[in-house]
Symmetry: C2
C-alpha cells in the first residue's frame, strides 16, 4: 500500500517506450470518450530568476488515476552546474485518494512527448511515408525519433534540422544511432540520419515533427510537398509558432486538446490572424484513435497534429513506471 | 542537495509547535509586505466516489520557497479502514527550482491551521482573556488548543463544544490534557477543560475558535458578550458559515487573504447578504503583524479573524520540518 518513489535514473530503468506509446494512445482515446479531465493549469514566472514553473494536473476516470506534476524551468541553472528542468510528479489512486507514486517528472515528460509526436505521424502520415524531418536537435529529438521508428519502422531517412546551428544538427546526426541503441535498445543502423537545412529537408519529407521553442515560423509553405504530415509539439505557449500559417490554413488539423491548442498551440497564431477558424479543426487525435473521426482522407492532403501536452499522458506513463518498479523492486517504497 | 522525504510519523517528529507559530506569523507579515504569492486554487469533486481534492500552491519571495500540496478528502475511506485525508506536499528552492522536500501534508496542515487560529486569538483577543471556546471537537481542535495555550498561557478555562454530539465533546474534554502532554509535550493541568452546549460556552468566553464544517450558523449574536474575539477557520468553501451574520456585521474583521475570504470564508455569506461590505474588512492579519493596521482598538469590540487557509503557511511550516529533519537525520534523503 506504500508509494513508489523514483529518481530520474530509476524512472529511466522502469519506463518502456512501447508501453508508453500504448498508454498514451489509450489515454487519448479515453479523453475522446469523455473519461479524462484536464484540470486548470497553474503557471508563474519568477521574474528575478528568469525562470518559470507550471503545475499540470488531471484525472482519468477510466483508469481511476489522478495527480499532478510541477515542472520548474530555470535556464540559468546551466551556469550553476544544475539541471535547468526540475520537477516531480505525484500519482494517486482515485478510488481512495491514496498516493501510489512519486517520481522525477522530466523523463516521463520526454517519453510521453515522444509518444505523442510519433502517434501523430503513425495516425496521420501517408502509409508509404519513408522520410522524416525532425526540426530541433535538442533534448526532445531522440524521443521523437525513437517513438516514430517504433511505430513506423519503414522510415528510411531522418533529416535533422537545427534552425540555430548546423553544427548541432551534424553532431546530433552523427550520434543518434548510438544513442538510440544505448537509451532505447533500438537498432537503427538501417536508417540514414542527415543533418540538413530546413528547406531541403522539408522538400524531401513525408512527415515532419517540430520540437523547437520558436516564436516565428521556420518552415515555409512553398517547401511543403502534397501529402506531408506535421506533428507540431514545440508551440505550447502563447506567441510560439513553428510553421507558416498558410500551412495550417491548408491542413486537415487535429489537436490533443482543442481549447488548449487554440490558446497556446501551433494553431493559436493562425486562428488569431483569421487564417483558420475554430471550425476548421477536424477533431482531437483521440477521436481518430476512437474511430469517431477519420484521420487523413486523401494522399495529397497536408495533415497537422497540434500537441500542446496533457498531464493525463504523464499520468498513464507514470503508471506503467509504477507497475514495473513494483515488479522489479526498483525505487524506494514509502508509506506516507 | 537531495530532497528530504518524510512520512506522517516522521513529520510529527520533526515539526515543532513554537517554530510553526513563528514561521506562520512571519509569513503572514511577508504576505502583507507583498513578498508572498498565492497561486490559483485547483479543486475537483469526484462525484461517484463522494470525494474531493484540491491543489494549493504558492511562492514566498522573502524565503525563496515555492511548492504545492494536493489534499484528497475521501470520507468513505473510513469504512475501508483507510485515512479519509491524504495528501503530499512538495517544497522547492526558488533560486534553482530544485526540490528540497516532499512530505505527508496532513500533519503540516493541522499544525499551521492551529498556529493560524491561535495567532488570531493572540493578536486580537483582549489582553485579559481567560476563557476560550473551541467549537468543533474534531481533528483540528487539539492543534487549536495547543497553539493558543502556547501564545496565551493565561487562559484558565477551555469550553469544548460539539454541535453534533455532547458525548464527543465530553470524551474530548476528558482526554485533551493527556493528549496535549503526549503530542505537544505540554503541561495543561492548570487549565480546566469543560464540555458544554454552545450557548453557555459562548456567553462565558473571551475568545472563540470555530473549526466545524457547518453550513448554517451555530453561534448566535445574542450569546456573544462585548469584547469577544472569534477566529473562524471552519468556513473554507462556498456556503459554509459558523457564526450568525449579525456577529460579522458588528465585528472588526481581519482576513488571512481578503479575496479568498470574500469568496469562501466566514464572511462570504454576510457579504452576499449585504450585511457587510468589502470595505468593512479592516485588513489582513499580516497587516496587524506588520504594524500597518491596528488590531483591536477597543476592549468592548467584537473582533473576527477569518482564516481560510493559505498554502504559504504550509510552505514555511514544511521548511522548519526539512531543516530539523536534516539536523536529526530523520526521513529519507532522495536525489531526484
Amino acid at each position: 500500500m506504500g508509494s513508489v518513489v523514483l529518481t530520474r535514473d530509476e524512472v529511466k530503468k522502469v519506463i518502456d517506450l512501447k508501453e508508453t506509446i500504448d498508454a498514451v494512445r489509450n489515454v487519448y482515446k479515453l479523453k475522446s470518450e469523455g473519461k479524462a479531465v484536464i484540470w486548470p493549469l497553474v503557471n508563474y514566472e519568477f521574474i528575478d530568476e528568469h525562470a518559470a514553473m507550471d503545475i499540470r494536473s488531471g484525472y482519468i476516470k477510466g483508469e481511476q488515476l489522478h495527480g499532478l506534476k510541477m515542472l520548474n524551468n530555470f535556464p540559468e541553472n546551466r551556469e550553476k552546474g544544475l539541471p535547468p528542468f526540475n520537477g516531480i510528479m505525484m500519482v494517486y489512486d482515485s478510488n481512495t485518494g491514496m498516493p501510489i507514486g512519486i517520481m522525477d517528472a522530466s523523463y516521463v515528460t520526454c517519453m510521453r512527448t515522444g509518444a505523442a509526436g510519433a502517434l501523430g505521424v503513425d495516425l496521420l502520415a501517408r502509409k508509404d511515408a519513408r522520410v522524416l524531418t525532425v526540426l530541433g536537435a535538442g533534448k526532445q529529438a531522440p524521443f521523437q525519433i525513437a517513438a516514430t521508428l517504433t511505430l513506423r519502422p519503414e522510415i528510411e531517412k531522418v533529416y535533422i534540422v537545427d534552425p540555430l546551428s548546423m553544427e548541432a544538427a551534424e553532431r546530433f546526426a552523427e550520434g543518434i544511432t548510438d544513442l538510440l541503441k544505448a537509451d532505447f535498445d533500438m537498432d537503427a543502423s538501417r536508417v540514414e540520419f542527415a543533418a540538413s537545412g530546413a528547406e531541403e529537408a522539408v522538400r524531401n519529407s513525408d512527415a515532419i515533427i517540430t520540437v523547437t521553442p520558436s516564436r516565428k515560423p521556420i518552415i515555409m509553405k512553398e517547401w511543403v510537398k502534397p501529402g506531408t504530415h506535421f506533428s507540431c509539439l514545440g508551440s505550447d505557449m502563447e506567441t510560439k509558432q513553428e510553421i507558416e500559417s498558410s500551412i495550417s490554413a491548408e491542413a486537415r488539423i487535429f489537436t490533443d486538446d482543442k481549447a488548449q491548442c487554440i490558446r497556446v498551440g501551433e494553431i493559436e497564431i493562425p486562428i488569431k490572424e483569421g487564417v483558420i477558424k475554430e471550425d476548421d479543426i477536424a477533431g482531437e487525435i483521440g477521436d481518430v484513435i476512437a474511430g469517431s473521426i477519420s484521420g487523413r482522407t486523401d494522399d495529397e492532403q497536408i495533415t497537422l497534429f497540434d500537441a500542446t501536452g496533457l498531464y493525463i499522458l504523464d499520468l498513464v506513463t507514470a503508471k506503467t513506471a509504477i507497475v514495473r518498479a513494483k515488479e522489479t523492486g526498483i525505487g524506494a517504497d514509502i508509506e506516507f
